[in-house]
């Protein structure tokens, strides 16, 4: 724990990300106003005691929209990270432990997926199944798979050469069990760091997909969708764009700080180099 406290950027990032997450979670049970309550009479209000961040062109409460939008963004990004880890990490570990043809196949597959950015995948899915936040999740999730496959493979490659893996083989342990018992726990810290970074990328991607109308659809909301709705009035009412825009910037910055801080705090190589000096 002291190790984490020693990294101020990590603490700032984690606190920021957690604060936004809490804000989003709160929106599930309570928002200042219902987000689908349209009241043209009170539209374009500035920030006030009643409407903390003002109201938009349909008279909806901006603070409520930001809260609900933050939740959508986190949810989409988190499920996408989960999909990426769930498929990518086993693929990467399989590549290391079986090697040969399996490794070739995994690497070519991840090259193939890398060739399609999330937007292209999302357009493909939308033409097939129509727009919606599920499609955004699938598209970002597919984009995450090769990232986690590569990180898992890179981390496990160096560990698979160590003697304890050979010792496990000597006891007749199968490949899958070695991957589960000996490789996975030792690359967990790498995966956590990568997961944090993919979270922030996922939130950006979700905002991007919603902005081009391939993600979340009204009456639900997301930060990207808010930007899309506000873009036509940017010159007249810049405030409507600034609020969701700065929310995205703050969340992504917090997650990136947390990811970089985690990397510094748990990177085994950094710690090792220090102890080598004493030898």
């Amino acid at each position: 724990m002291r190790r984490f406290l020693a990294h101020p950027s990590l603490m700032v990032g984690l606190c920021g990300a957690l604060a936004f997450l809490l804000l989003g979670l709160t929106s599930l049970v309570w928002t200042p106003f219902p987000i689908d309550q349209i009241d043209i009479g009170r539209r374009f209000l500035g920030p006030s005691a009643e409407h903390w961040l003002g109201t938009d062109n349909l008279g909806r409460d901006m603070a409520s929209l930001v809260m609900a939008g933050t939740w959508t963004s986190f949810l989409v990004a988190a499920i996408a990270v989960f999909i990426g880890m769930g498929i990518g990490v086993p693929l990467g570990l399989a590549a290391v432990i079986w090697g040969g043809a399996v490794e070739w196949l995994v690497l070519r597959l991840s090259d193939f997926i890398f060739a399609f950015p999330a937007v292209i995948v999302a357009i493909l899915i939308t033409t097939l199944a129509g727009p919606g936040s599920i499609n955004a999740i699938v598209a970002i999730g597919i984009f995450n798979i090769p990232v986690f496959a590569r990180v898992a493979r890179g981390g496990a490659l160096s560990i698979a050469k160590l003697d304890f893996v050979a010792a496990a083989r000597l006891t007749g342990l199968g490949n899958a069990m070695i991957a589960w018992r000996h490789l996975l726990p030792n690359i967990m810290s790498l995966l956590i760091v990568q997961g944090t970074i993919q979270m922030s990328l996922g939130i950006l991607s979700e905002a991007g997909l919603s902005y081009i109308a391939l993600g979340t659809q009204a009456p639900d909301t997301s930060l990207g969708l808010m930007l899309r709705e506000a873009q036509g009035m940017f010159l007249v009412h810049p405030w409507l764009t600034l609020v969701p825009g700065s929310a995205i910037v703050l969340i992504v910055m917090a997650l990136n700080l947390a990811g970089d801080g985690l990397r510094d705090a748990i990177d085994p190589r950094l710690r090792q180099s220090r102890s080598n000096v004493l030898a």
């Binding site: 003697d163 050979a166 010792a167 496990a168 000597l170 018992r181 000996h182 726990p185 000096v277 004493l278």
Partner: protein
């Protein structure tokens, strides 16, 4: 006046003092050795003298070179390092730039240290001085052998024509024969150039071979110093006495009588590796093990010796079932196998102790889980039986039950090697394959681990196959020795007979490279 004067040198990393109050001096053209175990602060002392301490370290005390204190500015210190102090590091592969031809790397140092008054040394001259041919200048580091790379490092250190050469474990990454050659080379060069040498090593014999005066370091302090003969022949401090005693292996007391029944037969085992993947038809396969044939009898201790890269580790992997023989087979208790097809029921009769005690345990598992892992080979054992087995082996290697819930990083290298032996014993195997079981350990714990192995052999009636390049250890442990070169077994016999009258040129080279015992040099 002495060339180098170190007085009251202390180095701290934050609150941790790794070197405290060290004082010694090195005269002109004197060869001075510092011995100590890992963590004793000997490398940090050398780095402090060269002004190369890592960030976060603070040094106090005075270091005088030729009566002048070392400059504080990095720029002047860099000039001094080039011209007055040459350094040779432990691992020549990482100390050389992998993307530069070695000739250019040597030339770079020559250019940086050019002085108006003295003529520049030529790259060819330096290469010849360290025993390399002029055409080696055009090679990249990976195209040279370990010994050749270390020679290049020495050439670079000599390029500035220094008065003092600091050599930090220059031979510990090399095999026995190369080590002897490099030590001779360093001795020759110091003699010829009248250059002072500060030689840092954990190997008492290497220091005794090379240095006229020696200092012993322990836990950051200088324990004892004096002429090499006096310190090693009649050590005054307890720690030095322990160190000197540990560097000698007591010859085994009893000779086991007669041969037991054969336990393992190795019949014409060959292992080929395909080379250079891309063009399959291009190049013939690399033969790592070449029609090797031998038998190990029940209760015997057989040693396999040879230079690095001779195929001894590959052979061990095939025997224990980690790799597969290309042709030939092994027979264990009447069952024939070829390597990785070793049947599950037989796996518990064989086990392997690895060389590196730091890589042989999963850092995320408790010792109890790691030790218990091989017990899955005995599915009939009830849970309480498993626990009893783990406790039994951990006590057999001289450690307590209380240590079972700890994690590997809480143990020292020697303790980990004991635990690795315990893990190998937990299935009550018949044959234990030991791959360089003590070469990664400090001198003072080597003796303990070897005594433990000898005791366990008597206690459990074990059969050992020891793989090593350390002839002294082999002489102390083995009943029979096989000498291996380039995948083939070239000589076989009792240790006394082989070391007294080696027949094959490789055996002669190995025996010749053996450093003399401390008594002899005293």
């Amino acid at each position: 006046m002495s060339l180098l004067d170190v007085s009251n040198l202390s180095v701290r990393f934050g609150p941790l003092e790794v070197v405290s109050g060290v004082a010694f001096s090195v005269g002109r053209s004197e060869r001075f050795g510092i011995v100590g175990e890992s963590g004793s602060g000997k490398t940090v002392t050398a780095l402090a003298i060269a002004g190369l301490l890592p960030e976060g370290a603070t040094a106090t005390g005075t270091i005088n070179l030729d009566g002048q204190p070392l400059p504080r500015q990095e720029h002047e210190m860099a000039r001094l390092r080039g011209r007055r102090i040459g350094m040779v590091f432990q691992e020549p592969m990482t100390a050389l730039n992998p993307l530069m031809r070695v000739g250019r790397q040597i030339n770079e140092v020559i250019q940086l240290n050019s002085r108006e008054a003295t003529p520049l040394p030529a790259v060819e001259g330096l290469l010849a001085e360290v025993g390399l041919a002029p055409e080696h200048a055009a090679r990249y580091p990976h195209q040279l052998s370990g010994g050749q790379r270390q020679r290049v490092m020495i050439a670079i250190a000599l390029a500035g024509q220094p008065d003092l050469l600091i050599a930090d474990e220059p031979t510990s990454a090399l095999d026995l024969i190369t080590q002897a050659k490099v030590l001779d080379l360093i001795a020759d060069i110091c003699e010829r150039r009248q250059m002072a040498l500060l030689f840092i090593s954990h190997d008492l014999k290497a220091v005794a071979r090379l240095c006229s005066r020696v200092a012993v370091m322990h836990a950051g302090k200088l324990v004892e110093s004096g002429t090499t003969g006096a310190v090693f022949a009649s050590p005054r401090q307890n720690y030095t006495r322990k160190l000197v005693a540990a560097s000698r292996f007591a010859p085994r007391s009893q000779q086991r009588s007669g041969k037991g029944t054969p336990l393992l037969d190795v019949a014409e085992v060959t292992r080929d590796y395909r080379q250079g993947g891309f063009l399959m038809w291009d190049g013939r396969p690399l033969r790592a093990v070449d029609t090797v044939q031998f038998t190990i009898a029940e209760g015997e201790c057989l040693a396999l010796v040879g230079p690095s890269g001779c195929g001894k580790t590959t052979l061990a992997k095939i025997v224990v079932g980690l790799d597969r023989a290309t042709s030939g087979f092994m027979r264990l208790r009447g069952v024939t196998y070829h390597g990785s097809d070793l049947p599950q029921e037989l796996r518990r009769d064989l086990s392997l102790v690895f060389q590196d005690p730091f890589g042989s345990f999963n850092p995320r598992l408790t010792i109890k889980d790691s030790l218990g892992e091989p017990l899955r080979l005995e599915p009939h054992l009830p849970p309480e039986g498993r626990h009893a087995r783990v406790v039994e082996v951990v006590e057999a290697v001289g450690l307590g039950q209380a240590m079972l819930d700890r994690y590997p990083h809480e143990f020292s290298g020697g303790q980990r090697q004991r635990l690795a032996i315990a893990r190998a014993l937990v299935t009550r195997p018949r044959l234990l394959v030991l791959d360089e079981p003590v070469s990664a350990l400090d001198v003072s714990v080597r003796g303990e681990v070897l005594a433990l192995l000898a005791r366990l052999q008597a206690q459990f009636g074990l059969t050992y196959l020891i793989i090593s390049h350390d002839l002294d250890m082999v002489a102390a442990m083995a009943d029979r020795v096989l000498v291996m070169e380039a995948g083939r077994i070239v000589e076989e016999g009792q240790p006394e007979q082989i070391f007294a009258a080696p027949q094959h040129p490789m055996t002669r080279a190995l025996v010749g490279a053996r450093l003399p015992d401390l008594e002899a040099s005293a």
